[in-house]
């Protein structure tokens, strides 16, 4: 096997966020990727980041997280600040859930929320814009513009709707999350599409889509392993770091229907097992929603 070759990086390096010196306002920026072999096997760079997800409209957010974080859910900048300072997340992933409402048109709020969250945080930021082609273009333009120069990681590009995200990333100097439905070949195709659109390869992070534990997680686990193996074998179109967001795990029956006194424990256990397994499969960034999961993942990664 070629995985022990010392010369070539199997996984390209991608820089998230920009410090003042790099044209942004972050106190730190992160480099992910740079691995030469299998995850946790001595030949990988071991750069693993834990992101806490927050949102601008908590109506569809998991009740167990809403209960745990309390009033923070109504204030994205306080929530983001707590994610970094209190919960210890390496970075925040801001989800614009407000855009899922029918007839959404509060585009000015997208820009101002982006600015406020950037103001409240000191680390790189992931932004999940809309997933409706009708508003994509305007949503991505607004958050892209508001974060110009910050090297935001913008999500999510998919095979049938990637142009708006790519355009915003190109115009304002950001990175793109490329999501494909648990399939190595589709992941590769989308990366090629993005490249042809002009998105540089070191600005793409692969999201192979993460099924919930107990509900298809094994497919995601194996696809991540296969993408990593393909990259090690020299496939340049798959040589990007991966991001995994096991967010469905908090919506499953076992977590939703847990007894009230066990809700947090159940949510954290299921999220932790999924998130940690995603790291073992090769993810560089894993996004979770329960603050206690962040703490536990960080502890394990730092050990």
């Amino acid at each position: 096997m070629s995985e022990n070759s010392p010369d070539k990086l199997a996984i390209r390096e991608v820089r998230l966020g920009a410090t003042r010196a790099e044209g942004g306002t972050r106190e730190v920026s992160y480099v992910i990727g740079g691995d030469r072999g299998l995850p946790f096997c001595g030949n990988d760079a071991g750069r693993r980041l834990v992101a806490l997800e927050i949102c601008d409209d908590p109506a569809i957010w998991p009740p167990v997280v809403r209960n745990y974080v309390g009033d923070l859910v109504n204030n994205p900048e306080d929530w983001a600040q707590a994610a970094e300072r209190r919960y210890g997340a390496d970075l925040v992933r801001l989800n614009f859930t407000s855009t899922k409402k029918r007839g959404f048109n509060a585009f000015a709020d997208i820009a101002s929320t982006t600015e406020r969250v950037l103001e409240a945080t000191t680390r790189p930021l992931i932004i999940e814009g809309s997933n409706d082609p009708q508003v994509d273009s305007e949503v991505f333009r607004r958050c892209g513009e508001a974060g110009e120069g910050e090297r935001l990681l913008l999500g999510t590009a998919e095979a049938d709707r990637y142009r708006s995200v790519a355009a915003a990333a190109l115009a304002y100097g950001h990175l793109v999350i490329a999501q494909s439905p648990i399939d190595v070949n589709l992941a590769k195709q989308l990366n090629i599409l993005l490249r042809e659109t002009g998105v540089p390869e070191d600005r793409i992070v692969i999201d192979p889509y993460t099924g919930a534990l107990g509900y298809g997680f094994e497919y995601s686990y194996s696809v991540m392993e296969r993408i990593r193996l393909a990259a090690i074998a020299g496939d340049d179109d798959l040589a990007m770091p991966m991001i995994s967001a096991p967010t469905d795990t908090l919506s499953i029956r076992e977590v939703r229907e847990a007894a009230p006194e066990e809700q947090d424990a159940m949510a954290v256990a299921w999220e932790f097992y999924t998130a940690y397994s995603a790291f073992v499969a090769g993810a560089s960034v894993v996004c979770v929603r329960h603050p206690l999961t962040v703490e536990r993942l960080k502890k394990v990664l730092e050990a």
Binding site: E225, Y273, Y276
Partner: protein, 444 residues
């Protein structure tokens, strides 16, 4: 390296005598090549050929059984490094630890918990596998007494953990007939332990810090007559475990070091973060995982992860076809069609349950294929839909005659209307869009 069936065939008697249970020598050779048959089954092989073929045809990781009776656990007999290459066959046994310094009540509560924990998921019962008794008292009698409290091995498989041969003697006098796993033979004490393992026919764990040392000790134990071995690489960290376990599994599979062709033992409690260690063992090649007692939430997540990882990728878990009520549907609730691919089913059910929208979910048998694949491959057809509607009596459950089909099945909408007489509505492609679709489009 493994031999091909035809190369193996050259060494067989070619008499097609059927005494091995296979119709021809070639059929036997093909089974041998995939590690699914044992050379011993052929009575006419000379010892030279037997030794040669035995070395290349037995499973690269030896199958080892721990315990006796219905809760015994068989591990090993694995063939690949990554599950997508074929599948992982034998899920690791998870053994919960007790100490011989504990009170009877403490020991019994763990034993009861192990015996009674059952997680029902998609037609399978997921259980913890046994109890590991740790000799921390320094007393052989105390160790034996705790082994007795833990059931002596008659109901749950046991792991006996000590470094004192006299403690093992006392414990094996009680549990020896139930194949407990003995932990651990080291460079210093392997001789008396191998003798005990041989005497009782018990599997034995070999413990050392490097693959080379492990191989040296397993070779000696095998020579001393202990065939059922496990290896404990004594990792210092999770990363260290993954690195060494990968190396061991690779050596076994590539048959570069036959003395490493045994299941791996992982002490999850020794690595700090128990949940991470248990998950690591499940994901990365452990045959036996010994863990401190863990919470119900962690147990359920761990057992579910183990089920997921050990699902055969070529035979996805399928949902039984039928009509499933979601959120207590009445006679005016919509009927939604989908396939019996478990991932599709669970995704849809997840979104529908979260939406609290009552509906009937009709599952047809597409042999576990997704909507897209089954439509393309002709596994989802209008006749099947018509048959399923009839077979499951859907017309008796609702007052309307409207069927919502998956977005990817849109090409079949006309044919389904013709074949069933039901009005067809084409739903969204993505399950996430179902709640909104139903809210907008569904009126009877």
């Amino acid at each position: 390296m493994a031999m091909k069936a035809l190369d193996i065939y050259k060494h067989l008697p070619k008499t097609n005598c059927k005494k091995c249970g296979y119709p021809t020598c070639l059929a036997f050779a093909m089974k041998l090549a995939t590690g699914k048959a044992d050379v011993e089954a052929c009575p006419d092989l000379d010892p030279g050929a037997k030794a040669l073929l035995g070395g290349v045809t037995r499973p690269p990781v030896r199958a080892v059984t721990i315990g006796a009776g219905e809760r015994s656990v068989t591990i090993g007999e694995e063939f690949v490094l990554f599950r997508h290459e074929k599948t992982f066959y034998h899920p690791p046994g998870i053994m919960v630890e007790v100490s011989d310094t504990w009170t009877e009540v403490e020991v019994r509560s763990v034993v009861d918990e192990v015996r009674e924990t059952v997680v029902h998921r998609v037609g399978q019962d997921l259980v913890l596998n046994g109890v590991a008794v740790r000799n921390e008292s320094g007393s052989a009698d105390r160790f034996a007494e705790t082994v007795r409290l833990a059931g002596g091995g008659s109901s749950l498989p046991l792991v006996l953990i000590s470094d004192d041969p006299t403690a093992f003697e006392a414990a094996l006098a009680i549990a020896g007939q139930y194949r407990p796993l003995i932990h651990a033979a080291t460079a210093d004490n392997w001789e008396p332990l191998a003798a005990l393992a041989k005497q009782y026919g018990s599997p034995l764990v070999v413990r050392a810090g490097t693959p080379a040392d492990l191989a040296a000790i397993t070779a000696k134990c095998a020579e001393a007559g202990v065939a059922d071995l496990l290896i404990d690489p004594a990792p210092g960290s999770l990363q260290g475990y993954i690195t060494v376990a990968t190396e061991i599994r690779r050596s076994a599979i590539e048959r570069t070091e036959p003395a490493l062709g045994y299941p791996i033992y992982l002490d999850a409690g020794a690595l700090g973060e128990t949940d991470a260690a248990v998950a690591t063992g499940i994901l990365k090649y452990a045959g036996i995982i010994v863990t401190p007692r863990f919470s119900r939430a962690s147990r359920e997540a761990a057992l579910t992860l183990r089920q997921n990882i050990y699902t055969d990728p070529q035979h996805p878990i399928q949902v039984t076809p039928g009509v499933y009520p979601i959120n207590n549907p009445e006679r005016d609730a919509p009927v939604l069609l989908t396939v019996n691919f478990s991932l599709t089913y669970f995704t849809i059910v997840g979104y529908l349950e979260a939406s609290r929208m009552p509906c009937h979910l009709l599952i047809v048998d597409t042999e576990g294929l997704s909507v897209l694949t089954s439509v393309a491959g002709g596994k989802l057809t209008e006749t099947m839909v018509a048959d399923a509607l009839k077979k499951f009596g859907v017309a008796d459950l609702v007052d309307h005659r409207i069927l919502i089909i998956p977005g990817y099945a849109a090409p079949l909408s006309g044919k389904i209307e013709d074949a069933t007489g039901w009005k067809v509505m084409v739903g969204p492609r993505d399950a996430a869009d179902l709640p909104e679709y139903l809210e907008k489009e569904w009126k009877t």
